[in-house]
Amino acid sequence: MPRLVSHPDEVKIVTRRFGQGAANIDRYVELGGYESARKCLANGPDYIINEMKASGLRGRGGAGFPTGMKWSFVPKVSAKPKYVLVNGDESEPGTCKDHLIFLHDPHSVIEGTIIAGLAIGAKTGFIYLRGEYRYLIEIMEKAVADAYLKGFLGNAIFGSDQEFQVIVQSGAGAYEVGEESALMESLEGKRGVPRIKPPFPAVVGLYGGPTVINNAETIATVPHIFAMGGAAYAAVGSERNGGTRLFGISGHVERPGVYELPMGYNLKKMIYEVAGGVRGGRELKAVVPGGSSTPVLLPNEIDIGMDFDQVGKAGSMLGSGGVVVIDDQTCIVEFAMRTISFYQHESCGWCIPCREGTDWLKKSLTRFHAGFGTMKDIDNIQYLAENMMGRTFCPLGDAAAMPTLGFVKKFRKEFEAHLDGKPCPFAKHVDLAVV
């Protein structure tokens, strides 16, 4: 069972019901659950969208797009049915926040889905979880069944004339399916390859109908926004970055865990105070601030607020909020190799720059780490990564190229230390099998 952590600086909004048995529907209701859905049902779509816009909530999957605005793009009238899709494919290395949401507060996801459905005029919502999360899928399925029994889902939700159905869907192992259009393909029973955009999902999405797709954390936040009011939620965060974020701090820290902190919370403080500092009193070497696809930050770059804009200004991304802390005993070349090896494995093969690029990068970095690199390889790695950027249908190519560029640019000396058959200064795992 994943351990829950706590720190006085936390502002518990989304995690408010964690550890309180809220997977039980009666307990959830006792803790104020489903009140927001009732309120939204009574007040209608315009109220919902205005309140969402006021909340300043931005997509928690990584892109940080304003949720209220996303919902407002869905056409009011549509010949085809509209859909709400919840992306619980959580697969970005360094990210495990949705895991806890499904485990501790499954009804918040259902309630958020209902509200999104009311906002856009959809009658069906899908909650898609990665296949590895089977025990969480079972928790979600139980929660959905209970919500049907209570009449919170079904043909007449909360005794109204409105219909809303929720279906929990299992994936079967694919990082790429976390990309919104690939997830729709998977949900239509196909290989999870991305679709070309435009058209965007808000116009042509699942089964060709207008679709809103949001990350599970985004959706789980929605009921809380209506419980506290959009403006009050926005006030918790920093400028243009409403509310809190579930930051998953992993790697070389004393107290790894998922902490709910206000948007804009200082990264240095997050590592040294909230997570207890670098493990064993060692020196900090680098921080990956928002999941494996976000460019690495150096120790002198972490005195920044953790919101979409400030991390962007520092040359990286807030991404999924997965903060990976790396100490001075770690080989960055090996870390880069492991990162790119993941993207190589997960590239769906649809776009050539990504399929071939990740493959070449993996081969180069593996050879490099084994001590068989040349000076030219360093430039080649950079050249390859630069040529993948922006040249693929979906962001997976960028997700592989961006961190690679960061590693090479910021740790060039360490790459050079691996030249001329010199053993890795940190050598532990040198995999020659794929050279």
Partner: protein, 170 residues
């Protein structure tokens, strides 16, 4: 009863689950990905017979099913052990000793990546991020998570599953 139904390799429970599943979606084919996984849970792997039966039930060709099935990393085309051990070595786990854990499993079981023990009790896989980064290093045994692992905990886990296997339990 059609001949296909009498020849079904699905248990009545799995067949019923499938029948209920397809009714949920606007499009029958949406049941395909989860159904393949549920079929694998029961039969052990995606055999040719599974592909044929799923194709028939969804109303698409076996080639279509195979094309989709080969995309998803959890689906396998040969049997695994009764307990399939999936060791995450991705960055967060790597930083906290994921590779040492993987090495320890290899040593204890005498098999490597994608290997199956001679008694078919265990199989081993190195896998990508399983979403347990803050509780690293982590593994899954079938669908069960085990986290914050040490070599001692690994030994205990193997003993526990061996005991379960001896009792004939899942």
């Amino acid at each position: 009863m059609s001949s296909q139904e009498t020849m079904s390799i699905f248990s009545p429970q799995l067949a019923a689950r499938f029948d209920a599943l397809v009714l949920k979606y606007p499009l029958k084919r949406s049941a395909l990905v989860p159904m393949l996984l549920y079929a694998q849970d029961e039969i052990g792997y995606i055999s040719d017979a599974v592909i044929d039966e799923v194709a028939h039930r969804v109303g698409i060709t076996p080639l279509d099913v195979r094309g989709v099935a080969t995309y998803y990393s959890m689906l396998r085309f040969k049997p695994a052990g009764r307990y399939n051990i999936q060791v995450c070595t991705n960055i967060s786990c790597m930083l906290r000793g994921g590779y040492d854990i993987f090495d320890h499993f290899q040593h204890k079981l005498g098999i490597g990546h994608k290997g199956v023990t001679a008694d078919a009790v265990f199989s081993l896989e190195e896998v990508e991020c399983i979403g347990a980064c803050c509780w690293a290093p982590a593994i899954q045994v079938n669908y069960d998570f085990h986290d914050e692992l040490t070599n001692e905990k690994v030994d205990q886990i193997l003993d526990d599953y061996r005991t379960r296997a001896a009792k004939g339990a899942n």
